[in-house]
Symmetry: C2
DNA sequence: GTCTATACAGTGATAGAC
DNA sequence: GTCTATCACTGTATAGAC
């Protein structure tokens, strides 16, 4: 495997069997990590022979890279904050917080996050890919909102980037770490809404314009 | 291995060779995770034969559990906030933030965090152990400080637990995730101090008593 | 308890027929 | 491209001598 590009899909991966193999690998890797998954298990689940797997992917590492990068892209693409109203900061921040939490705390995202952190020592490139497609992108979205809200006068932000970082950190909170550690059940929508509300309340106390 | 108690040290682990093996295992596991480490490598590094390893530890999993639980305990025991002055909230919170970051961002703590998150699917008990000895304990320390500061009138906290959670989340911030993902070098003391200062400033804007 | 030597299972990867 | 069969190798675990 080329360590600098471990995640590039082979062109032939668009065919039928290749996607079948990729889907099987995704389920196996997400459920068990890298080390505990065998190529036999992937082939069995894909309904093909092991030789066929090797006909489409150079090896286990390349297959793993393909799975992880594809998932990173797929999971974070949907997050957007550009259409939210910068005048009503409270409502928009609440919406951002809820969307962020729904994305961040979904079982698939947690499993992905877990496996990347666990294997980043072996595959350094994965951390970079995940960061750019995930946290970096969401923070940029939030930062843009902060800037617009600042211009609209609904928030008092001298450093939009810092404000976005701190908001994202507040939202991530304790619950994210707890789920990464497999403590407690997946978050319910009610729990997400309550957490978002508490975060927005605190954030607004720090960043609301001075009342005159 | 008994899955509910994978981390209990055998009584014989107090001897000389056993600690030698444990130290070797710690270095190997922390550097490479669970799957990539062989019992051969541990035995070689410890300077004993493989059979001796198996004489002291039932298998690779038990050895791993022993290493992780011992490290969790060792790393988080030092954190304390009980002696800080609750009247000078700004200074004390800054001190808490710096201590927390130094602990959290140390290379050893990052490696430990990483390996636990990566292997918690295979060893669910490790998540519980880490949580209780780590984040739970630090949050309790901070929570106690919040309560004392609230009583002293230097902070306006209606829910000390929530305030402690939010403060800890702010401190953890983006840098912790970046280091978990192996992005960038370890944090410098200057970077830690700057981050702590920014966090305390924001937190105080949200939780400082109203000026009359 | 500690060693050397080895049995045994399971792994990633490939050869060769079709 | 796809299969069956098999390779070489590694890792866990144990037997038996001392």
């Amino acid at each position: 495997m080329n360590a600098s590009q471990p995640f590039r899909l082979d062109d032939s991966a668009r065919g039928g069997k290749a996607e079948q193999i990729l889907a099987a690998a995704r389920r196996e890797f997400l459920a068990s990590g890298f080390g505990a998954v065998s190529m036999d298990a992937i082939a069995r689940r894909a309904g093909v022979s092991k030789a066929t797997v090797y006909a489409h992917f150079a090896g286990k590492e390349e297959l793993f890279g393909a799975v992880i990068s594809e998932m990173s892209e797929r999971y974070f693409r949907g997050f957007s904050a550009s259409e939210l109203d910068p005048v009503d900061a409270a409502a928009s921040l609440g919406e951002i917080a809820r969307r962020f939490l729904e994305l961040l705390l979904s079982p698939e995202a947690i499993a992905l996050n877990r496996i990347i952190i666990g294997e980043v020592t072996r595959f350094p490139a994965l951390g970079e890919v995940f960061w750019r497609t995930g946290p970096e992108r969401t923070r940029a979205q939030i930062e843009t909102f902060m800037r617009r809200a600042g211009e609209a006068g609904s928030l008092r932000v001298s450093d939009p980037r810092l404000a976005a970082e701190q908001f994202a950190s507040l939202v991530r909170g304790e619950i994210h770490l707890r789920l990464l550690l497999r403590l407690g059940p997946p978050a319910t929508p009610a729990r997400i809404a309550a957490t978002a509300e508490a975060v927005v309340a605190t954030f607004l106390r720090a960043f609301a314009p001075k009342m005159s």
